[in-house]
Amino acid sequence: MSGSRKVTAVASVVLLTSLAASVFLLRRLDQVHPSATLEEVLYFNSPKWVKRLSLGYDGLLADIYWTRAVQYFGGKHRAGATDYKLLYPLLEITTALDPKLIVAYQFGANFLAPKAPEGAGMPDKAITLVNYGIQNNPNEWKLYYELGFIYYMDLKDYRKAADAFDRGTKAPNAHPFLRLLAAQMAEHAGEIQTARMLWQATYVSSQDKHIRANATTHLAALQVDEDITELEKIVAAYRERTGKPPSSYTQLIATGMLRGVPVDPDGNPYRLMGDGRIELRNPENFPFVAKGLPPGYKPGPPKFR
């Protein structure tokens, strides 16, 4: 028996060791290989060809390309990249293979259209993509929403945005906010209020975690902007009354202008600077803010909250 036992023992040890080794090497390979994968991925640049070569297994391939698109974006975003060149081709192929993959269009609207480093900076391509989606899914209200979103946020074309939202209200089961947004375009385009409505609508209309994280981040930024605008008004009023800027919040609270120490969405107090400016304690946690940044502050690539 000893001969056979020895073989079994040796084989077991060898098996476990090589298993561990192959897992380890696999992780190493991932590091060396990733960009190479994507070069291959895009080897077939033409969606038409991909569709032909898929031999009918469009759905599965669409899922694979969608996974790659998300990984591509996620990986680049985490690494703090500033361009997303391959995002459009990936999404184009995905939707060519499966025109009914709504989330792909939403992803494009959210991350193709905005300028770098937030997105790929291709609003026109984004529009093309979403229009293709509408063509193939004329009853999907979410796509009209995305179209309007792009026109509003990235192209500042409020009339086209309104038009898109309006068309969306005609889709079956359209979310009520489409009607509100259409109306909002007319009177309050360009206001923080409208932006907030849009980001909230985005959050509601998609389950994708990247899109939602993006929306949350924007909403936080809007909150900060609003807060700081308010605080600036209070500081100005105090200065007018006393002739000099407040040196601390206690003074402001004493005069009844403030009820408590104001905090940002993270719960950290806003910093009251010597010259009366308001600053964020951790500006790197709030991409997309327009106010509260220290002078000369250069924001890095955006990170989702």
């Binding site: 056979s4 077991s12 080794a21 190479a36 790659r68 998300v70 990984q71």
Partner: protein, 257 residues
Amino acid sequence: MSRVVHIATNTFREAVRDRVLYNLIAYAVLLSGAAILVGQISIEIERLIVVNLGLTAVSLFGVVIAIFIGIGLVSKEIEKRTLYTVLSRPVRRWEFLVGKFLGLTGTLVVNTFFMAIGVFLALLYVSHGFQSSDGWILVALYFIVLQFLILCSLALLFSSFSSPLLSAVFTFALFVIGSFAEDLRGFAGMSRGLSRWLATAAAYLVPNFSALNVIGQVAHGQPIAGQLIAYNTAYALAYSVMVIAGAVLIFERRNLK
């Protein structure tokens, strides 16, 4: 040790006498036909097509051979009872397995060698000369051989306990899944809970063929990183060893009816 070599040599001899190498004829016809057709089209992409088609065919032909012969490596010997007289000699069961594996792998290496000559000849025909970047084609071929190493070990594993039909199905399935191994890890990363664990485990156990496929790159004349070559070699060896160890464990205590 020499017993392993003898068994390997005999396995190679069996493959040759079973006329496996005739597939080279089909390959030659395919490649020559393509080269001639392609020679009529514009200059830029003919080299591209020859390399892509040639290397993909090397890979696919080899996969088919690996599966067809591999699935019978052990099961055929049990069914035909040729194994009995081998094991009644001082041959250890693991020596038998390793010998069979090396014989099959050797067959594929020889096959690939001839096909490689074919690719370079076709390339010479359409480009009327070699470029320095053509050297990377050898790396792509080397990776294809590594791919065969893994596939042969898998076919051996299944052959040691399963019927030929099931072995073929499993091995082919692993080949397909392995070609999308990196996507599988992407799926795993995007899912949650129990399915995330299962998908991740599967993603690490499945052979990673996508890293071994550099045909596209090489067709464009792009170089391959030395690190990639090193890691791929180590990975293919580690994975094959793991699978063969598994086969040894299964076969060691198997009752041969």
